[in-house]
């Protein structure tokens, strides 16, 4: 399943990059992400809960950041396994600063879901994925505003 989108964050590219790669911020903003524990350089152990209506999958796995260039780009690689199946995502994120306080975030990636959640929810999956992305960036925009107000 392709996961693509472009989102605006009201902050410059460096701040946006920091927000998007800060584990504490990610736990607050990413729907379903329960915890992130560092286990190495840009490598985290994660607990996730993702699902569609009554079918919720709990997953344990890892989140890795790769190909990162501060303020410009990074790749987010997530893997999760749980009793009802697995989730995987590999997303390339590019930042394009359009003004002092505005950055466009281009996301392009592949996600796959396997097991019961896939079997039951496949028809809704891509809709749900873009909804989750939308929720994530809405939360991120709030974080950006908070960061601006704090500074």
């Amino acid at each position: 399943m392709k996961v693509n989108g472009t989102y605006d964050i009201p902050a410059n590219a460096i701040t946006t990059y920091e927000l998007l790669t800060d584990p504490d911020v990610l736990v607050r903003t990413m729907p379903g992400l329960k915890s992130l524990k560092s286990i190495g350089d840009n490598h985290y152990e994660a607990e996730l809960e993702v699902g569609i209506s009554v079918v919720k999958g709990r997953y344990k796995g890892t989140v890795k950041l790769e190909d990162e260039i501060a303020g410009e780009q990074f790749r987010l690689v997530m893997n999760g396994q749980g009793p009802l199946g697995f989730v995987e995502m590999n997303m390339f994120v590019q930042l394009e600063q359009t003004s002092d306080q505005q950055t466009k975030v281009h996301c392009e990636g592949e996600a796959s879901v396997g097991g019961v959640v896939a079997g039951i929810g496949q028809r809704m999956m891509s809709g749900v994925a873009s909804m989750l992305m939308g929720q994530f960036f809405t939360a991120m925009r709030k974080e950006a505003s908070k960061a601006k107000n704090a500074s």
């Binding site: 396994q81 009793p83 097991g115 496949q122």
Partner: protein, 791 residues
């Protein structure tokens, strides 16, 4: 229901004897079986399409309260042979690579749903909860979901020790095909695809197994072939044959072929019962069922027809590529269906020169399992629709193209070796054309067109197997084709019939009673039918492939005919008359001397003498009244014809279509119970419509099944199907004692070509063609738009 009468029972639409108990909810299905002290099995299945298993942590599941045992693959494998023992491997020539398979995956999974861990618990709910505590670590491997990709030389291999992904490769050929194509006036060449679909029986698979060291293993399982399963379990688990008893329940909620293979779960539950010395029950849930069984069809045909300008097909060439899935089921291995589909490809047509190259390829999907219209559904679509395309290209009436090619003389052996025993295919076809009022539909079509309405007419045929004789069945499945039955008159003059097959809704208690009632001059109420228990029924291959009315019932007739001379000898002795053992009539539960009808005796009195009072028997006569017979037809195979026709109206803007009429002309030799035959035809057509239009076992590119609920796997309901008109056109076969043939198996086959040809006729757009199943409004709309683009 019945009254004492001399009228024949065969040929009457008697209401089914099975139905009262089913209608009041008193049927006994596998889920209704329980044994005191029984534990429950739940299977943990792969969530990956193709992966190595790096680690399995069962500790949390083992500690869960109520869990009896948690079992992994190696343990089960150590207790038995690899499952595909030679007796359940087909022997069809060609090149076969045999996968090694045990009940549970050991180090690798091949499809989403591949069984990995068995959880046995005090209740089904505990077992399912504990299953969520099993942690399996996988390393993903490349997933193959497209057979044409999997065939490429550089494709990753699904079985490490194979030379490629080719499960089976072979050729069916006869005649001079190259010459036919050289001499042809026209060659049609198209790629047809029939998607993965098939059956989804209301009752899923299930079993209850128990074991003790004195009597061995007893397994109740809703299989179509209890005797073959017994043999397989005995051989795979190296258990003495007398210590394995397979019992199929009296009531099975449909199978359609899906309960015919030897499955891994059947061996698994047998092992668990033996290990735990405790009865164990397993009933597959709907999601497991939709991701494991009922998946058939899935064939690509690169079909070429060499045709004369008059529309006579002189040559057929086909490259058939089947997506066999993992191929790991006993008896069929995922390739017997496409093989038989190839053998039946030329259908009801006389085509002298044929070459079919069959490639059955493994992919990361569940194995193909048999499904009604065994292996032939995509081929029937390709062949019969291609004949309509030929007619269009040559500007001939498709009716004439069909008539020109239909087999006219019997017996007829096709180029692929299939024997057509008897019948009147041409007559059946003409009857359909008349019933459709073909010429008038053509006029109406022209009228409607003026008003902007697009009406079309289409048709297709199906020459369907009617049981397979041993000549085909022994090489195909290593099993006898004969029918087997025992007829036993009891102490009270009632008749117990044992059959070696095991029905799943076909109504044998009714129809077999009708047959025996006629043979012995009794009523159906005097007869009771036993099946399913391998310790009491004669050996036979199972209820499948339209065997009932052709083979099994014929065996019951022969068994009755073995008994009749002895009954007459006893009657003569008791009546004190001279007899040659063949001068009595059997009627009204009495044996009546033809020379003087006042001399008669009740069958019950004869039974009483033969069983309870043997001193009354003629001197030296053996006591008892029972006989077993095995029926083998004196011909390699029997087939029966069904001709389907439809009138449809298509909306070219949306691609949607409406079926205005659907007509079936059907031959089953002699219908034993015409109501049941009609029911089979109705059910078969509905299944064909479901398969052709709605049902699809879909997968994403990672091999994840996308149709694991009945919302996704849409089977037709009453609202989705039109009225189905059935016209009987029966030609008794000379090869069975009653002239009867089986009916049920092949009926879905002609549906897709019937609909596709009617839609194509309605649209009347040059270049428009339907090459892929399912036929949906979207696929029609797309084809319309492709055809409109000038090339």
């Amino acid at each position: 229901m019945t009254s004492v009468t001399e009228s024949k029972w065969v040929g009457r639409s008697i209401r089914r004897r099975e139905d009262p108990r089913l209608l009041v909810g008193a049927g006994k299905y596998i889920a209704d079986y329980s044994i005191p002290g029984m534990a429950y099995l739940h299977v943990v299945r792969s969530t990956h399409g193709h992966a190595r298993i790096l680690n399995i942590d069962i500790s949390k599941a083992e500690d869960y309260p109520g869990v009896v045992a948690v079992i992994t693959g190696q343990e089960v494998a150590d207790a038995m042979k690899p499952m595909l023992v030679s007796s359940i491997i087909p022997n069809l020539g060609g090149e076969l690579q045999i996968p090694t398979v045990y009940p549970l995956a050991i180090d690798k999974v091949q499809w989403v749903g591949d069984p990995i861990v068995a959880i046995i618990a005090e209740s089904k709910y505990i077992a399912e909860d504990a299953a969520q505590l099993v942690e399996i670590e996988y390393e993903k491997l490349p997933v193959l979901t497209d057979p044409e990709e999997a065939m490429k030389p550089d494709a990753p291999k699904i079985y490490d020790n194979w030379k490629d992904n080719m499960l089976w490769k072979g050729q069916l050929a006869s005649g001079d095909v190259d010459k036919a194509f050289k001499e042809a006036d026209y060659v049609l060449s198209e790629r047809f695809y029939g998607h993965r679909t098939g059956a989804a029986p209301m009752e899923t698979r299930g079993a209850v197994a128990s074991y003790d060291e004195f009597t061995g293993l007893t397994i109740h399982v809703n299989t179509q072939r209890p005797h073959i399963l017994r043999m397989a379990i005995s051989q795979i688990m190296s258990m003495p044959y007398d210590k394995v008893r397979v019992i199929a329940p009296k009531d099975v909620g449909g199978a359609f072929g899906t309960k015919a293979p030897i499955y891994r779960e059947e061996l698994l539950i047998s092992y668990i019962a033996m290990k735990l010395r405790r009865p164990v029950k397993w009933v597959e849930n709907r999601m497991e069922s939709l991701m494991t069984i009922g998946q058939e069809r899935d064939q690509i045909h690169y079909l070429e027809l060499a045709v004369t300008k008059e529309g006579k097909i002189i040559g057929l060439r086909d490259r058939l590529i089947a997506d066999s899935g993992d191929g790991r089921i006993g008896v069929y291995l995922g390739f017997v269906m496409p093989w038989l589909g190839a053998a039946y490809l030329s259908n009801a047509y006389d085509i002298p020169n044929v070459q079919i190259d069959v490639s059955c390829v493994v992919t990361n999907k569940p194995s193909l399992t048999p499904s009604r219209a065994f292996g032939e559904f995509p081929g029937r679509f390709a062949m019969d629709y291609a004949m309509h395309l030929v007619a269009r290209e040559l500007k001939l009436d498709p009716r004439d193209v069909f008539e020109k090619n239909i087999i006219k003389q019997f017996p007829h052996v096709t180029a692929t070796g299939i024997t057509h025993d008897s019948g009147d295919y041409e007559g059946a076809f003409r009857t359909l054309i008349e019933a459709l009022d073909y010429d008038r539909v053509r006029q109406e079509q022209a009228e409607a067109r003026k008003n902007g309405r697009l009406i079309g007419v289409g048709f297709a045929m199906g020459a369907e197997m009617s049981g397979l004789g041993s000549q085909i069945f022994v090489p195909m499945e290593n099993q006898p084709g004969y029918g087997a039955a025992t007829v036993k008159i009891d102490t009270h003059g009632m008749i117990q019939v044992f059959e070696g097959d095991s029905p799943q809704g076909q109504g044998h208690e009714t129809t077999l009673s009708q047959v025996v009632a006629d043979e012995l001059g009794v009523t159906m109420d005097d007869i009771y039918i036993s099946y399913g228990d391998t310790f009491v029924t004669p050996f036979a291959s199972g209820t499948l492939g339209n065997r009932g009315a052709s083979y099994t019932f014929s065996a019951a007739v022969l068994a009755c005919r073995k008994l009749r001379p002895k009954i007459q000898q006893i009657a003569a002795h008791l009546l004190g008359v001279e007899s040659d053992g063949n001068d009595f009539t059997f009627a009204n539960k009495e044996i009546v001397w033809k020379k003087d009808p006042s001399k008669k005796i009740a069958l019950r009195d004869i039974a009483d003498a033969a069983i309870l009072g043997p001193t009354k028997l003629p001197r030296g006569m053996e006591a008892g009244l029972e006989a077993t017979a095995y029926f083998e037809a004196d011909i390699a195979g029997m087939l029966s014809i069904g001709v389907h026709g439809a009138v449809v109206e298509v909306n070219p803007d949306t691609g949607d279509f409406k079926i205005l009429r659907y007509v079936v002309v059907d031959d089953c030799g002699v219908p034993i119970n015409p109501m049941i035959v009609r029911g089979q035809v109705h059910g078969g057509v509905v299944m064909g419509m479901g398969n052709a239009r709605f049902e699809k076992y879909a997968f994403d590119e990672a091999g994840q099944p996308l149709s694991t609920t009945l919302m996704e796997y849409h089977m037709p309901s009453a609202a989705d199907v039109p009225d189905i008109e059935v016209i009987e056109y029966n030609v008794p076969t000379p090869y069975t004692p009653l002239g009867s043939k089986g009916k049920g198996e092949g009926i879905p086959g002609p549906v897709p070509a019937t609909l596709a040809s009617a839609i194509t006729d309605a649209l009347n757009i040059p270049g428009f063609k339907i090459l892929n199943l399912p036929i949906t409004p979207e696929s029609i709309w797309r084809s319309i738009n492709e055809a409109k683009v000038p090339t």
